[in-house]
Amino acid sequence: MSRILVVDDESSIRLLYSHELADEGYEIATAANAVDAVELLRRDDFDLILLDIKLKNESGLELLQRIVKERHNLPVILCTAFSCYKDDFSAWLADGYVVKSSDLQELKDEIRRVLAKKSSRGPTHKVM
């Protein structure tokens, strides 16, 4: 069972993702901010991170850079309300990019694609 860490400052969105993705058979952990996320990443192993770009008082892109630097094999999918971040170079570090929508099918497809890619790449290297 793949483990997914959801990082989003909106509790209702964390709840929705947990609910929907659990139905898809994933094991879900959530974090409301970058500090909690880093703590969880230190403590546990994850197969994928769903990361909101706009966290309260901090940037998801900075956390993305840190994850890529320290856990370079851990795939990250950016979830955002803004499609314009597709043009941001920092966002190109992520493995996937999904614009938030009530229809989570695109997100689910993207998760499957990224995880399939990851399994062909091998295990993550944990240094965090």
Partner: protein, 549 residues
């Protein structure tokens, strides 16, 4: 001794002195005035003086000396008086020219006054005058204007006209400017065309006059080694006057004047008088030239200022649009998250609900409405993105291709025919990808909404001399059932939302396109032509290179 002349009589009658004219009656009673005016020249007085000398009167030789001296002085006085009269006339004329030359500001008007002054009978009465002006680069003297008759017949007509109309110099110049200037330019075109002299040729007689800053009266031109024989041949005269026009050390040009018809001699006094005239003429010509240049500069400045104002307005408009975009983006973001949660949970619940559950319809409504709201938000965010400029060098084929594919994916109807024709090897152009893409998408969306699911959409690119043409054609299906065909939206004339969006599109496209045209074919559809310039504004020498994106 009995005197034959009345020089010794205080008062005389008409019969005593036949030399007094009726209009000189005062001389009958004034011996002093009569003696000076008449007796000194009177043959009877000469006889009296002879007889007096023969009589041996001792005062007779003395009287002869006195009378001769008085006659010499009188002749001198008369000559001086005539000279002064001439000078006075010339001064008045120069004053008149000076006043007249101060009024006009246009070069042609100044030239009309100047050449009229040289050729009019009231002026210096030269038969013809040709003006050669230095060009802007000060490299050549070029024949600019000729005035005067070409032959005897014309000369007679001109002089007859002048004698019938007692014009002042100002009136004559105005008459010339209004009625004759353009014809006069044509009349001497053949001569003026040949009157071109390099200002660098210092041996040429015209340049000599300019360098020495003095008029040169050329006589016997065909035999004069200083004169280019061609010049004499062009003018067709052996005697002519060269008057240099110099203003503040600047060589303005020269005037060539001659008496082609009357062959009247040009005197030293003529030369001197005309030389005096050259100073105000040169000054007026320079002033008129400077005025014209100033006017031209003013026109350029006005154009630049207008352009600047347009750019300022554009910047303000773009800033407003950008601000509007940011606001839209911010609002959309704050709505999107709760909307996503509502819609997401509704979908989740709907998935698990039994088909006959009474809440199913409500949940479906929530899902549907949430999706509609999300579409509206996407639209708003897409617009917000589009108003933030993304200026760079872009591949137009990539832009058109991307938009085409997106539209085909989203709007494809079962019976819709999509045609994409991209011209290969187009150069990259400097434009705003997002804004152009946004506008094309809007045009496609609204026009295809009208066409429905049937018809043909054509998009193509092609290279034109200084731009790239993007062509979009909408051709609705023709049913031939007599129904009205598709009514295509007009930019700015739609319902409130469409109208605003299409108006924004027009503004954006007009800003970025060299031209933006819409051709209506009624029920047969519509064609948009967007011509994007190959070079960005102010880019004159930069060569286009391949696309960076």
């Amino acid at each position: 001794m009995e005197w034959k002349c009345c020089w010794a009589t205080e008062e005389v009658t008409g019969s005593e002195c036949p030399f007094i004219e009726p209009c000189e009656a005062d001389l009958y009673v004034s011996l002093e005035r009569r003696f000076i005016a008449k007796c000194l020249e009177c043959p009877r007085m000469e006889e009296d003086l002879g007889r007096l000398s023969e009589s041996g009167q001792p005062a007779a030789p003395l009287l002869r000396i006195l009378v001769d001296e008085i006659r010499r002085q009188k002749a001198r006085m008369d000559s001086m008086s005539a000279f002064l009269d001439n000078m006075n006339m010339e001064a008045r004329f120069l004053h008149e020219i000076g006043v007249v030359l101060q009024t006009p500001l246009g070069l042609d008007e100044v030239l009309s006054v100047a050449l009229t002054a040289f050729t009019a009978g009231k002026g210096f009465g030269m038969n013809r005058a040709f003006l050669l002006l230095a060009d802007k680069e000060r490299r050549f003297l070029k024949g600019t204007l000729g005035v005067g008759p070409r032959d005897y017949q014309e000369a007679w007509e001109i002089w007859d006209e002048v004698s019938r109309n007692d014009f002042s110099l100002k009136e004559m110049a105005k008459h010339f400017f209004d009625m004759k200037l353009s014809a006069e330019k044509d009349k001497f075109h053949d001569i003026l065309e040949q009157l071109t002299v390099s200002l660098g040729d210092q041996s040429h007689i015209l340049n000599k006059a300019l360098l020495e800053r003095r008029p040169i009266l050329v006589e016997d031109a065909s035999k004069n080694p200083d004169v280019d024989p061609l010049l004499a041949r062009i003018l067709g005269v052996d005697t002519f006057l060269i008057l240099p026009l110099i203003s503040r050390n600047r060589r303005i040009g020269v005037i060539l004047a001659d008496n082609f018809i009357t062959r009247r001699q040009i005197t030293a006094q003529d030369v001197k008088s005309m030389e005096t005239l050259t100073f105000p003429v040169a000054f007026a010509i320079e002033r008129a030239s400077l005025y014209e240049r100033l006017h031209e500069d003013l026109r350029k400045l006005t154009r630049a200022n207008t352009k600047l104002l347009e750019q300022q307005e554009l910047i303000v408009r773009m800033e407003k649009l950008a601000l509007l975009g940011k606001i839209t983006s911010s609002i959309s973001h704050s709505i999107r998250n709760p909307l996503m949660v509502i819609g997401g949970f509704a979908r989740s619940l709907l998935r698990d609900i039994p088909p006959d559950d009474p809440k199913k319809e409500s949940l479906e409504t929530i899902v549907r409405e949430a999706r509609l709201l999300e579409d509206a938000l996407n639209e708003a965010l897409s617009y917000a993105d589009s108003v933030l400029p993304a200026l760079d060098r872009w591949d137009v084929n990539q832009l058109v291709g991307n938009v085409f594919r997106e539209v085909r994916r989203n709007l494809a109807g079962d019976r819709m025919n999509f045609i994409l024709e991209l011209s290969p090897d187009l150069p990259a152009i400097y434009t705003d990808y997002r804004q152009i893409a946004y506008c094309i998408k809007k045009l496609l969306r609204y026009n295809m909404e009208v066409m429905g699911s049937e018809g043909e959409l054509y998009m193509g690119t092609s290279l034109e001399p200084d731009c790239i043409l993007i062509e979009i054609r909408f051709s609705p299906e023709q049913h031939g059932d007599g129904e009205d065909g598709a009514v295509f939206p007009r930019l700015g004339e739609e319902d409130e939302t469409k109208g605003m969006e299409l108006s924004i599109c027009r503004v954006i496209l007009e800003n970025y396109c060299k031209s933006f045209n819409v051709e209506e074919y009624g029920r047969n559809g519509r064609r948009y032509s967007l011509r994007l310039p190959l070079k960005k504004e102010g880019e004159d020498h930069e060569q286009d290179s391949g696309g960076r994106r």
